[in-house]
């Protein structure tokens, strides 16, 4: 089965799900699509552009609160509020790219982590706007003119949005932009020497990822009918990271596989918070250690016809290259132990 056929089958199955599903299964299917969007956005930023940022859950929350508050506080219709929420997340995501220009590696990771916690704090404590820790109910959009229930209606909206964003990501990584992302990830200096404008492409990566997370967020209140800060906490951060690592960093199909599998696992473990933390932590650790390129690498090796081009970091580097690089950067980390 080729990787394209897999996507077609998966989305055909998702399209047919409402015919057979009860309300709960429908909800899980919808959640799966939300997380596919989130994983795609995060993978563009981390897996392709190589920016290790931790603000994805915050962007998700900003999208959700943006869409929900515009409806509840200003009485806007969902169809106006939702795009505004997604664009708000995209705008804030783009702003995050500016520190990213000065910071890299560990500093970027922790600055974005601090930003994510700051967002969480704002959602909890700016009670006059956000309703605080308890969250608030949001009316679901009305689909009665199409003759479907709100649950089914929003399900099909998510389905269309997910496919559009999937196709868009598919195109982006095969374009000039995607190649610039990969070059930037593998070696910033070299990318710059090749004419990649780092400011422009970093901003683009953060904007894209913010838009994806924001869109998933904007769908969230319509799917759940409720938003609260808990939905966008630290656990979401590890969840999104685990999805792209399990599926495969730098792979579009990997994002889809990782998100689908982990949402299923999340639902199985729904009752036990501690078990969820242990299982997702262990999954992340195990994949980083033993299968760092994710499930897609395994599929590519074992399924004939599975031919998604994967963009690994340092695939072409032979050990000799690394040794030379270590000689140049004398005293670099761990150089002496090899």
């Amino acid at each position: 089965m080729s990787h394209r056929a897999f996507l077609v089958v998966l989305f055909a199955a998702l399209a047919l799900l409402p015919i057979v599903a009860n309300q709960y299964t429908l909800f899980v299917g919808n959640l799966m699509m939300l997380y596919i969007i989130l994983a795609l956005g995060l993978n563009l930023l981390v897996g392709f552009a190589g920016q290790l940022a931790f603000a994805n859950a915050a962007m998700y929350g900003i999208g959700a609160y943006g869409a929900a508050l515009l409806q509840v506080r200003l009485g806007l219709s969902y169809w106006i509020a939702a795009p505004c929420g997604a664009l708000l997340a995209m705008a804030i995501g783009t702003l995050l790219a500016f520190p990213a220009l000065r910071l890299s590696g560990i500093y970027l990771a922790l600055a974005t982590l601090a930003f994510a916690q700051f967002t969480q704090w704002v959602l909890l404590h700016w009670t006059t706007v956000t309703f605080g820790a308890g969250g608030f109910p949001v009316p679901q959009p009305d689909f009665s003119s199409f003759g479907v229930s709100p649950d089914r209606g929003i399900y099909y909206v998510s389905w269309v949005v997910t496919i559009v964003l999937l196709a868009f990501a598919w195109r982006v990584v095969r374009s000039r932009i995607g190649r610039a992302f990969v070059a930037m990830r593998d070696r910033e200096m070299a990318a710059q020497a090749l004419g990649v404008d780092l400011l422009r492409y970093k901003a683009m990566a953060f904007a894209l990822s913010g838009f994806y997370a924001g869109t998933a967020g904007a769908l969230y209140p319509a799917v759940l009918g409720y938003v609260s800060p808990e939905g966008f906490d630290l656990f979401q951060m590890i969840l999104h990271k685990a999805m792209i690592v399990v599926g495969g960093m730098g792979s579009i199909v990997g994002s889809v596989i990782g998100a689908s599998l982990l949402v299923y696992l999340l639902e199985v473990l729904r009752q036990f918070k501690a078990t969820q933390e242990i299982v997702f932590g262990a999954l992340l650790l195990a994949f980083v250690l033993f299968q760092p390129r994710g499930l897609v690498e395994f599929l590519k090796r074992s399924v004939p016809g599975w031919a998604e081009p994967l963009h690994y970091a340092s695939d072409s580097e032979s050990p000799a290259d690394i040794a030379v690089a270590d000689e140049v950067v004398a005293g670099s980390r761990g150089g002496a132990t090899r």
Binding site: L110, L234, K273, E277, V329
Partner: protein, 293 residues
């Protein structure tokens, strides 16, 4: 005036504990160029180990402290063996993701083991809660004990680095691993002990802090953020910087809580991190970093 002195004393006490957390982060970062994202969870585990030994097994405080520190040391070494040593060749992203994985495993484990007894566990105070008067300043005797103990830990730590063979190996490895290997230092073993020492300091600060605050599985990350704010304010590679940074974070958050509003206490660390990283990336005492290609 009384309010201000109270805020300052509290700020210095909590600041001293943040300084210890920052110390662990800085020691590991200096040697390995990695921030252990599970550092806060090592702190949390140290606190729960001490709780188990002191409150549940009813050991006296000092042996519980020592055993909890030894336990954190062991978990720190485990972190090195599981996440750092096999992955340091793969690069920073892999190491960071692995340490996040470990932090959630530890957090979930703590929730399973200790979460059933109510979410927040109270650690009994060490001394009577009578305040002591020094000049015009009222200080809780509990705070005084914690402050002195934190100072003692810092001194032991400094002495360890300056005088012992292991401490000198660590300094040598941090300044140049290749040269350290050339003179016969077993670099990866030094990395392992560095992780262990960083964790042990976190464990010690957890045991000191436990009587002042409550213990809960999520405390690790909150403390990690504050320790990291302190470390970054001090330049991330400077041990004196970490201590000054810790005291500054402690005092600033108390002042923010006292004069702006109590909710500001939680958020000041995030603001300090974002401010420090963007405006002052080399910190107060850090050395300007050399950009490596």
């Amino acid at each position: 005036m009384l309010v201000l002195s109270y805020l300052l004393v509290t700020g210095i006490t909590t600041g001293a504990l943040y300084a210890l957390v920052a110390l662990g982060i800085v020691v590991v970062y200096k040697a390995t160029e990695v921030v252990n994202l599970a550092h806060g969870e090592l702190f949390m585990m140290g606190g729960f180990l001490a709780y188990t030994l002191h409150v549940m097994v009813k050991l006296p405080y000092v042996p519980s402290l020592l055993l909890a520190v030894a336990g954190s040391f062991a978990i720190g070494i485990l972190t090195d063996r599981v996440a750092f040593r096999p992955l340091m060749k793969e690069g920073l992203v892999s190491v960071l993701l692995a340490t996040i994985g470990i932090s959630f495993i530890l957090k979930g484990t703590a929730r399973v083991l200790w979460g059933g007894k109510g979410d927040y566990l109270a650690f009994p105070p060490l001394v009577s809660p009578e305040p002591i008067r020094i000049g015009n300043v009222m200080i809780m005797s509990q705070q005084l004990v914690v402050l002195l103990a934190a100072l003692a830990v810092m001194l032991v730590f400094a002495a360890f680095f300056k005088t012992t063979r292991a401490g000198k190996f660590m300094q040598a490895t941090a300044s140049n691993p290749r040269a350290a290997a050339l003179v016969g230092i077993h670099v990866s073993r030094v990395y392992m002990y560095t992780f262990g020492v960083g964790a042990a300091v976190a464990g010690a600060s957890a045991v000191l802090m436990a009587p002042l605050t409550l213990l809960y599985p999520d405390i690790g990350f909150a403390l990690f953020i504050k320790g990291f704010a302190a470390a970054v304010l001090g330049g991330l590679t400077s041990v004196p910087g970490a201590i000054i940074g810790g005291l500054l974070v402690g005092i600033l958050e108390q002042l923010a809580a006292g004069f702006i509003g109590t909710t500001m206490q939680d958020v000041s660390a995030f603001i300090i991190i974002m401010f420090a990283l963007i405006v002052l990336p080399t910190g107060i005492l850090g050395v300007r970093g050399i950009r490596k290609i």
